[in-house]
């Protein structure tokens, strides 16, 4: 028996395994600790050859796609669902790419990674698709549970009253005309709320409003220079949620205009509304002294892009247009909430009816 098991292990170990170049991904903090729209996630991508060795002088490209659309169980950013969040290609001297990005929603993100040699032909380029699963923010479950309990309680209380004896006693303090008046007022309230919400939907089609709390205005210039280098930030200053916006930084010698390629540029994207860091990367400029990346500003509020090299700092503000969630998605969620209320209402109604003495 021992000989048989040993033989099987030997056979299993000696089976030739066809190795392929791969991209190893490391995420900090661990995925189970990531809170959507809050945690700045550090991605480390390491390209490894077939024998597990590192690639020197690689160009690593990464495209992050947000989880697919889930209209029946929407996230808080439905417009972002199924869209591209980030696209960048960077020089990776040791086959390693590191960047930080906030992930907006729960679900399965797809990272399409391409690895190409900086010197064409030194090895075969390859691509790999990686998937990561981000859990939902636990606060959302708690708040939903609180709301469900409130709706069930109010529903059950209302049902209990409606299920009671509706005959009017001789000493009734609210005569029928008063109850008619109250019903009329309820109708008026419904009409007023309908009007407010309907006009808001109409206004949303033409303009957009978003809270501007904690607004920070970009204080750095778009171009700054000293004796040895000139740093410039270029690219889109207007963006729309759901679409990528292109950003470029350029570094040159101010006297000769020659590109500078041997410095590291610290890039940051900060959301004004929360003053939170959304994206961070230490970029190496290409042969033209430039680095370009595409980023989605998923929170429909202004952002500031900052680039700095040593004492030089440039920035520009991105005006972001938010898009209201589709009406259908909101109506589906309203239906869920209403159903919870109706369940409470029915329970209260039949509970009262079943406890009433049969006359």
């Amino acid at each position: 028996m021992v000989i048989f098991v040993s033989l099987m292990i030997w056979l299993w170990k000696s089976t030739p395994v066809v190795s392929q170049p791969t991209v190893k991904i490391q995420i900090e903090p661990p995925l189970e600790q990531v809170i959507p729209d809050a945690t700045l996630v550090k991605f480390q991508l390491q390209a490894l050859d077939a024998s597990g060795g590192i690639y020197n002088d690689a160009l690593i490209g990464v495209h992050i796609s947000a989880p697919r659309k889930t209209p029946w169980f929407t996230s808080d950013f439905p417009i972002v669902e199924g869209t591209e969040l980030l696209a960048l290609e960077a020089y990776a001297p040791k086959g390693k790419l590191e960047f930080e990005q906030v992930l907006p929603i729960r679900g399965n993100y797809e990272l399409a990674v391409t690895v190409t040699p900086e010197v064409t032909g030194s090895y075969a380029p390859f691509e790999q698709s990686l998937k990561i699963n981000v859990p939902e923010n636990p606060v959302k479950y708690r708040n939903f549970a609180v709301l469900a309990v409130i709706l069930l309680t109010i529903g059950a209380f209302s049902g209990w009253i409606l299920g009671g004896d509706q005959t009017i006693a001789a000493t009734e303090i609210a005569p029928q005309p008063v109850r008619m008046l109250l019903s009329g007022v309820t109708l008026l309230a419904i009409a007023a709320l309908l009007l407010v919400n309907f006009s808001a939907e109409m206004a949303e089609a033409t303009s957009h409003s978003h809270p501007e709390t904690g607004e920070v205005i970009s204080s750095s210039p778009r171009i700054e220079k000293n004796e040895t280098m000139q740093l410039e930030i270029l690219g889109d200053t207007k963006a729309v949620v759901g679409k990528l916006a292109t950003q470029t930084v350029k570094i040159t010698n101010p006297s000769t205009g020659e590109p500078i390629t041997d410095v590291q540029i610290n890039l940051q994207s900060v959301a004004n509304e929360s003053n939170g860091l959304m994206f961070a990367y230490q970029a190496m400029p290409d042969l033209n002294g430039q680095f370009t990346w595409k980023e989605q500003f998923f929170d429909g509020a202004p952002h500031i892009i900052t680039a700095n090299v040593m004492q030089l700092q440039v920035s520009h503000e991105i005006e972001v247009e938010g898009i209201a969630p589709p009406l259908s998605v909101r109506l589906i969620s309203l239906l869920y909430f209403t159903l919870i209320f109706v369940v409470g209402l029915s329970a209260g109604f039949w509970g009262k009816r079943n406890t009433q003495p049969i006359l």
Binding site: I190, E201, H210, L334, T338
Partner: protein, 61 residues
């Protein structure tokens, strides 16, 4: 011939009927929920922005 008091009595019977009162209650509840969680009306949206983002199945922007 239908006189005014007859119309009043009929509408009273209809408005104060249980199905209509249930309809009123559910409609009002739906509209309050819509206004709080789903409306794009700026003052409400801006005030409850955080709550909306922190409640399951509520979409915001």
């Amino acid at each position: 011939m239908v006189n005014a008091s007859n119309i009043w009595q009929r509408s009273q019977g209809w408005v104060l009927s249980l199905p209509f009162q249930v309809f009123l209650l559910i409609s009002l509840c739906m509209l309050i929920l819509w206004t709080l969680y789903f409306s794009t009306y700026p003052p409400v949206h801006d005030t409850l922005h955080e709550t909306r983002h922190h409640t399951l199945t509520v979409a915001c922007h």
